[in-house]
């Protein structure tokens, strides 16, 4: 009561005072220093009083200033506060500068937020602004080149194909090396959620425009709070929140068009006929059995020009110029107690592969409300629907040799056969092959047109992700936080293969529908205490629990043989129904975590994390593990001796940091891997039970001991920043599908075991600078470089090497002393100029030449003596597939209202197995790359292309991988270029528009590389650790042009 009286008195006095004293009016405009745009909602306060106002939509204000006051303070979230002396002026215009510290220099470490100063781990932060306008399906695709230590490869141009993300190298062999992705507190599913040819990356359910920041935690000091889940790093996604001030309304939209980039050059019809007939002639000269009599005429000719000399460009039948569009609308704002962010978006993207599309509709509401001074409420909810549709591209893991794979068909189909008959019907035969035109040779591939037109492959997510949370400030410094998250998704998969042609033909039509019900909840409770004592001792303690349970129930069936071939739906009539796509999955984590942060006067830093994790996928006795890490830091530049030295004039920041920690990898491939199980089945129509899984009751954690030593430097008042880190991750107890001798008859020939170890060691450099900052013109640049070395140091079964399979061929081998997933191929030594035969080098190092069809004389030494056949077992050359250096080079220019951003990415030191090239030089009826035209024809010809012999699949590397098809993967790519123009504010008048920017953007504008395949950034085997760096019959990457607007009210 007394307080109230007092306040009334003060109020009255103030009013009186105002009435008595002479006041004056000051007005002006507040703008953003960088672009001279008016800033609405800026608080303008007379210093030392409660007198204040906010700027209007165009940034103007007007305020009555009491006579005895002489200073105005301008405050706006995200900007540095400005104080202006009033003096005699009545107009004060202010340009406010962004507070970089506040905007960028915060690291979200999962359970807490730290300022960059007190953070002593290794992390990188990417703003939502950097990714929101990129023509991608998921935010992860836009992270390429954005941060040191993070290597991202988009496997190919199939829409929403999950990218391969490697933080500081490959950090596991059998378990996923994909980082943990945490969205607003809840770890969510990654990988491909689709069982059919429509890639479905569930990260695409999140609209990239809704993301405020992505923090990438790299070392154990930052990730160990995530304990067992953090071995491959952590991506922390924070979605947008409303900011205090007037409601901001924005619309971001783009339209784009894309094409397939860098398709190999193929033989045309005339070249094809001539070249293949030469191969047939050569074959007949070796052994007439090589070409069946039915497949050649009396003159030994098998290939003939098609009707009307048809010259089909199969690329044009399969690829197209795509058109995509994306729109996001949002409203955000708040007052001192409540803030909100609402958005709705639609993305409608078409791929450059015909019938490939991605459509997402999503809406989000984030709200934050301060209920009382001690109780804060948070809530986020997003609902989305993502529809993925893709034909059978043969470009997803495990499908590269599919006979219906469109990428492969585009390469191998003969150009002298037509896709359609004269009457417009499909050119197909009754035995599921394309019509062979006038060729006598059997053309046994399929026609891609009915496969694209008549088949359906979709995977559709309906997803709700929500969090509800509260913060309780129990007393000063002590905060309790609780957050419950619920992530609920259904994935509906539809696959229909038509009965006329393609994979459905032999079934008389096949439909396979399945649905997955995913439920994922997570509850985090933490108690945090922060205090300062003795003025300089700053301490923060955190303790908490984290519980998560994820269940996935899938069910479905396969229906075969349509009762009427005219139908094209699962719901139609079929003669045969069998089970398909049924499964249950259960994964639970229970965790207890704690962390301590201490700093002394902002100079000396110490932090420690400890986490105890239980994981349901491990053996009962082994499932609890302890993880943790510690780090120290020293801000040398905060020491007085430094501040007083002359060095301080140029060097504005020097910080040293070091960390060590142990994290784990709990991404077990099976929920029930520790159990020995019997599975049920059928013998005819009788039930069976059979030993189906060899469990391991000792299955325990795979751990990673991570060391990081870092140095941060800044010069010229932070105009130039430099950060470097040395790291070493020792991965131990690798959980491997330890290969068992097949003769033991262990189901799957493997047992999950904790065997093996490897390490990643590297250096990261990040250099940021603002070389030019002259008001109107500025240039900001950031260059990052990562050097990484991976080496396997122990494996299961006495270091038995582990092969890496690309569906039907094995081009990779993981072995001790080499990097994981290295290429393992047979060496060759060119083509013998005397006879045009490929010279192979066998296990003993001997040169052996191959004559296709030569029977017992197929393999001979160069002197003609018969040699043992060279096989895959003669492989002796090993090539690293992991880039040893990679990074990005980003430049942002502004000139007046123009902005230009140019981002390069580069990578190298790795080798790629170009299996596609093997296929493009195969001497069956397949079409070839134009490079075969330089084949050996006569004695003395010096060439890399052997004498073509029809049917030869050995000399080119189809039969087993050879080093001819191994190439360096070094490249420099202009990843992204954006030119934007901000329309002058005066154009908007009273429309209410506050800002309007238009831009044009090119993704993948050019690529400099000596790699001859479609793209050095390719991963036919997706996220595979054991078979990386392989290109095999994969669609290329796209080149994308987009134009867009950013409109603000």
């Amino acid at each position: 009561m007394r307080k109230l009286l007092l306040m009334s008195l003060v109020l009255t006095l103030t009013l009186l005072n105002q009435a008595v004293a002479q006041s004056k009016t000051v007005s002006g405009k507040v703008t953003d220093q960088t672009n001279a745009q008016g800033l609405p909602g800026v608080a303008v306060v007379v210093k030392g009083t409660s007198v204040g106002t906010t700027t209007s939509a165009d940034g103007t204000y007007s305020i009555n200033v009491p006579a005895n006051s002489n200073t105005l303070v301008f405050r706006f979230i995200g900007y540095l506060p400005v104080e202006k002396t009033i003096g005699n002026t009545s107009t004060i215009n202010v340009g406010m500068a962004l507070d970089n510290k506040q905007l960028q220099e915060v690291v979200v470490t999962g359970y807490a937020t730290k300022s960059k100063e007190e953070f002593t781990g290794a992390a990188a932060s990417v703003t939502g602004e950097a990714i929101k306008d990129r023509p991608v399906q998921s935010f992860a695709q836009a992270l390429t080149g954005q941060a040191a230590g993070v290597n991202i490869v988009q496997p190919n141009g199939v829409l929403n194909n999950p990218p391969v993300i490697r933080i500081r190298g490959i950090n596991s062999i059998s378990l996923s090396s994909f980082p943990l992705v945490v969205v607003d507190g809840i770890p969510i599913a990654t990988g491909d959620a689709s069982p059919n040819s429509a890639a479905n990356n569930p990260l695409g359910d999140i609209n990239p425009s809704d993301i405020e920041s992505i923090d990438i935690l790299k070392d154990a000091a930052s990730t160990s709070i995530y304990g067992s889940r953090a071995a491959a790093g952590v991506l922390i996604i924070t979605t947008k929140k409303g900011k205090q001030g007037k409601a901001k309304v924005s619309y971001d939209g783009w339209v784009g068009t894309g094409v397939a980039a860098r398709l190999p050059e193929l033989l045309n019809a005339e070249q094809y006929v001539e070249y293949k007939n030469e191969a047939v002639r050569n074959a007949l000269s070796v052994n007439t059995a090589l070409v069946p009599t039915a497949q050649r005429d009396a003159n030994g000719v098998s290939f003939f020009p098609g009707e009307g000399n048809v010259d089909t460009k199969w690329y044009d039948e399969i690829y197209r110029r795509s058109v995509s569009q994306n729109h996001t609308f949002s409203v955000s704002g708040g007052n001192e107690n409540t803030s909100y962010y609402f958005s709705a978006g639609i993305s409608d993207q078409d791929g450059f592969i015909k019938t490939n599309s991605f459509t997402r509709r999503n809406t989000r509401l984030n709200i934050n409300h301060k209920v009382t001074d001690w109780f804060n409420f948070r809530g986020n909810v997003t609902y989305s629907n993502s529809m993925n549709m893709a034909p059978q591209t043969g470009s997803l893991p495990g499908t590269s040799f599919a006979s219906s794979g469109l990428a492969r068909l585009a390469l191998v189909l003969p150009p002298n056969v037509a896709p359609r008959n004269a009457d417009g019907s499909y050119n197909i035969t009754g035995s599921n092959t394309i019509g062979q035109g006038k060729n006598l040779a059997a053309i046994t591939f399929q026609n891609p047109l009915p496969i694209m037109d008549l088949n359906t492959n979709t995977s559709e997510n309906t997803r709700l992700i929500s969090n509800i949370g509260a913060d309780f400030n129990i007393f000063k410094g002590l905060t309790a936080r609780t957050t419950y998250s619920y992530d609920r998704g259904n994935t509906e998969n539809i696959q229909f293969w038509n009965p006329q042609h393609g994979d459905g033909w032999s079934w008389g039509g096949q439909a396979f529908n399945s649905t997955a019900r995913r439920e994922n909840w997570n509850w985090v409770n933490t108690l945090q205490y922060e205090t300062t004592f003795g003025e300089k001792h700053n301490i923060s303690l955190l303790a908490g629990t984290d519980v998560q349970k994820t269940t996935v129930d899938t069910w479905g069936s396969v229906r075969q043989t349509l009762t009427d071939v005219g139908f094209d739906l699962y719901q139609a009539g079929y003669t045969t129904n069998v089970a398909g796509g049924n499964g249950i999955s259960y994964r639970a984590y229970e965790s207890y975590l704690s962390s301590l942060n201490y700093n002394y006067g902002g100079k000396y830093f110490l932090s420690a994390n400890f986490r105890r994790d239980g994981n349901s996928a491990l053996a009962t006795k082994q499932r609890w593990g302890n993880f943790g890490g510690a780090s120290v830091g020293w801000a040398l530049s905060e020491e007085n001796f430094f501040k007083n030295s002359s060095l301080a004039n140029t060097v504005s920041n020097v910080r040293l940091k070091g960390s060590w920690g142990r994290v784990g990898n709990g991404n077990l491939p099976s929920d029930f891997g520790s159990y020995s199980l019997f599975g049920t089945g059928l013998y005819g129509d009788i039930s069976t039970l059979a030993y189906a899984q060899a469990g391991n009751e000792f299955l325990s954690w795979e751990t990673s001991d991570q060391t990081n030593i870092g140095l941060d430097l800044a010069f010229l008042n932070n105009r130039i920043t430099f950060e470097t880190n040395y790291y070493k991750n020792d991965v131990n107890g690798l959980i491997l599908e330890a290969p068992q001798a097949p003769s033991k008859g262990i189901p799957g020939n493997s047992i999950l075991q904790n065997v093996g170890s490897m390490y990643n060691e590297g250096l990261e450099f990040s250099l940021g600078a603002t070389p030019i900052d002259r008001g109107k013109f500025s240039w900001k640049t950031n260059f990052n470089l990562t050097l990484n070395k991976n080496e396997v140091t122990a494996l299961a079964g006495g270091n038995a090497p582990i092969p890496g399979v690309t569906q039907l061929e094995t081009a990779n081998l993981t072995s001790v002393g080499n990097s994981v997933g290295s290429l393992w191929v047979v060496r060759t030594n060119g083509v013998n100029p005397q006879n045009g035969r490929r010279i192979f080098i066998n296990k003993k190092g001997e040169e052996v030449q191959y004559l296709h069809g030569g029977g017992a004389n197929a393999w001979t030494y160069l002197d003609g003596k018969v040699a043992s056949a060279v096989t895959a077992a003669d492989a002796s050359a090993m090539y690293n597939t992991l880039p040893t250096w990679y990074g990005g080079f980003n430049n942002n220019f502004t000139y007046g209202n123009f902005d230009l951003s140019i981002m390069f990415t580069y990578s190298g030191g790795n080798y790629i197995y170009n299996g596609t090239q093997a296929g493009l030089r195969d001497q069956r009826f397949w079409n070839n790359h134009t490079d075969v035209l330089s084949r050996w024809q006569k004695e003395g010809d010096q060439t890399e292309i052997p004498r073509p012999i029809f049917g030869d699949n050995v000399s080119n590397g189809s039969s087993f991988p050879i080093d001819v098809n191994v190439e360096k993967g070094d490249f420099l790519r202009l990843q992204n270029t954006v030119l934007g123009y901000r329309l002058p504010a005066q154009l908007f008048g009273k429309t209410g528009i506050s800002s309007l920017r238009v831009y044009g953007q090119i993704d993948n504008a050019f690529l400099l590389t000596k790699y001859s395949g479609v793209d050095p950034e390719i991963s036919t085997n997706g996220n595979s650790n054991l078979a990386p760096g392989v290109e095999r019959n994969t669609v290329p990457q796209g080149r994308m042009f987009t134009m867009g607007v950013n409109l603000g009210f």
Binding site: N287, S403, T444, W507, N582, S616, F672, G684, A741, A873
Partner: protein, 487 residues
């Protein structure tokens, strides 16, 4: 002092609020929260809990060898296309083109699957035998004995099918060549990867030991024709023994075993237990799968089909879904197939009813070309037993009975034919030719060539492949070499 002063009250209120969310969390973290129990599998400890489960395990052994990747289709195809009867149409490595061309390597997925699936069946048999002993008290004694016999039969059959393709023939050196790792102990853990190859003779000795024991332990018959065809009984073990002894060139034993299930004179039927006999019309054998002629077959149903690119009908047949992967070799010169052999006459029902011309080429239509290709896959037919016996009689016994047995098989499909040869060699040739006609596309051809130590006349390789050639046998899978240090 009032401890419930205003400030303290406020804190207490807040703590109470906090405890609300914490309480249910504790309960959710009950002991079983981290127990993920597989709900669609049976754990090892419970696999012998009920008679139904034990019975299901016995059937699981047969189901293992029935896999389309092994005896459910692909094994038969790979054995037939390596020799002279078929020509490859599609040059597809996934459907045997490399086996056909004799360029197949140890890293071939499908070739490795024979080894992998075979040894899976062997290990499951070993584990089942061990489990039966450990749980003997829980199981009806008669059933216990039957299951042991069945496990031994499956193990013997599997070793026999593997040793024939991965090792040199027994007959060339009485089994002195390297055979297979002889695994007779159940494996469930990471140990024992290393095991050297036993000799071919040792493998055959084990096969015979298992079959002799199985003969004693197996029942005389089952309650239905379907069970008599799909599960081993005494005659099944005896029938297989005739083939095993024939492969070992132990003709006297072929006759001894054969006489247990073949009458002395025509019409030949089994005098003991299941009354095996030839069906009057061979076509019926491939539509009615459970006659007494089908001694042992792999049953197929819609829900238990051979699977993609394993189906015999898909390989050999055409319309509507057969892919015509291989057509019959009718070449007039060079390496000739059985189709043009004079013993295979145009009047033969096996030609008129079981082959057909499709798109200009001749195909085997024994197996339907209709998805999902549920034709049962014959493993042992009575006609084969008669021919086994005929060959043994021709070699060391009664020429008369040999001719009678040969004619019994031939005349069933071509009544006007008579054997006209004069010498022992003629007779043996005629019997071997008859096998090619009778068992065409049933997976016998290459094994029949190899057991006699002959060169393989390969259309695909365009050459005769002699015994000494490394291509004569299939290479042992690379994976076995990589993981078995003692191989």
């Amino acid at each position: 002092m009032n401890i419930l002063n205003k400030t303290n009250k406020k804190y207490l209120l807040r703590l109470a609020l906090l405890s609300i969310p914490l309480a249910p969390m504790m309960s959710s973290c009950a002991d079983d929260f981290l127990e993920a129990q597989p709900r669609t599998s049976v754990s090892v400890e419970n696999a012998f809990d009920t008679p139904e489960r034990v019975e299901a395990q016995a059937n699981g052994l047969y189901a293992t060898i029935k896999s389309g990747a092994f005896l459910g289709g692909r094994y038969q195809v790979y054995n037939d296309v390596r020799a002279e009867e078929f020509i490859n149409r599609l040059n597809n490595g996934v459907t045997g083109a490399w086996a056909y061309a004799h360029t197949i390597g140890g890293d071939d997925t499908y070739l490795a699957n024979f080894w992998i699936t075979g040894y899976l069946a062997i290990n499951r048999s070993n584990l089942f035998l061990e489990g039966l002993d450990a749980n003997a008290t829980k199981i009806d004694p008669a059933k216990l004995q039957q299951y042991k016999g069945e496990a031994k039969f499956v193990r013997a059959l599997t070793y026999f099918y593997l040793v024939q393709i991965y090792a040199k023939p027994y007959a060339i050196d009485n089994g002195a060549s390297p055979g297979l790792p002889l695994r007779l102990k159940g494996e469930t853990g990471p140990d024992n990867n290393g095991m050297a190859r036993s000799t071919v003779a040792q493998i055959y000795a084990q096969i015979l030991k298992d079959l002799n024991e199985a003969e004693a332990e197996l029942p005389s018959n089952y309650s239905s024709g379907s069970l008599n065809t799909t599960r081993a009984h005494k005659n099944t073990a005896i029938a297989l023994k005739t083939r095993v002894y024939l492969t070992m060139k132990n003709y006297a034993k072929v006759i001894e075993e054969g006489n247990k299930i073949v009458s002395a004179n025509a019409p030949f039927t089994s005098p003991n237990r299941v009354a095996h006999a030839l069906q009057s019309n061979i076509k019926n054998v491939f539509t009615n799968y459970t006659t007494t002629e089908s001694i042992f077959s792999m049953p197929m149903t819609n829900n238990s089909a051979p699977g993609t690119q394993n189906q015999l009908g898909y390989y050999y047949n055409g319309s509507p879904n057969g892919n015509r992967e291989y057509y019959l070799n009718v070449n007039a010169t060079g390496i000739k197939g059985i189709y043009t052999n004079s013993q295979f006459r145009d009047t033969d029902a096996r030609k008129t009813d079981l082959t057909a011309t499709i798109s200009g080429q001749r195909y085997v239509t024994k197996f339907s070309g209709v998805t999902p290709f549920t034709d049962w896959v014959p493993i042992i037919r009575y006609s084969e037993v008669l021919l086994n016996l005929a060959e043994a009689e021709a070699e060391v016994g009664s020429q008369t009975r040999a001719i009678a047995l040969l004619e019994a098989v031939h005349k069933r499909s071509d009544a006007t034919w008579t054997y006209t040869g004069t010498t022992k060699t003629d007779l043996i040739d005629a019997i071997l030719t008859e096998r090619r006609i009778e068992l065409l596309a049933e997976g016998f051809r290459t094994n029949d060539i190899m057991r006699r130590g002959l060169a393989i006349p390969s259309v695909g390789a365009g050459a005769q492949i002699p015994v000494a050639d490394s291509r004569y046998t299939f290479p042992i899978p690379t994976r076995e070499y990589q993981t078995n240090p003692l191989l």
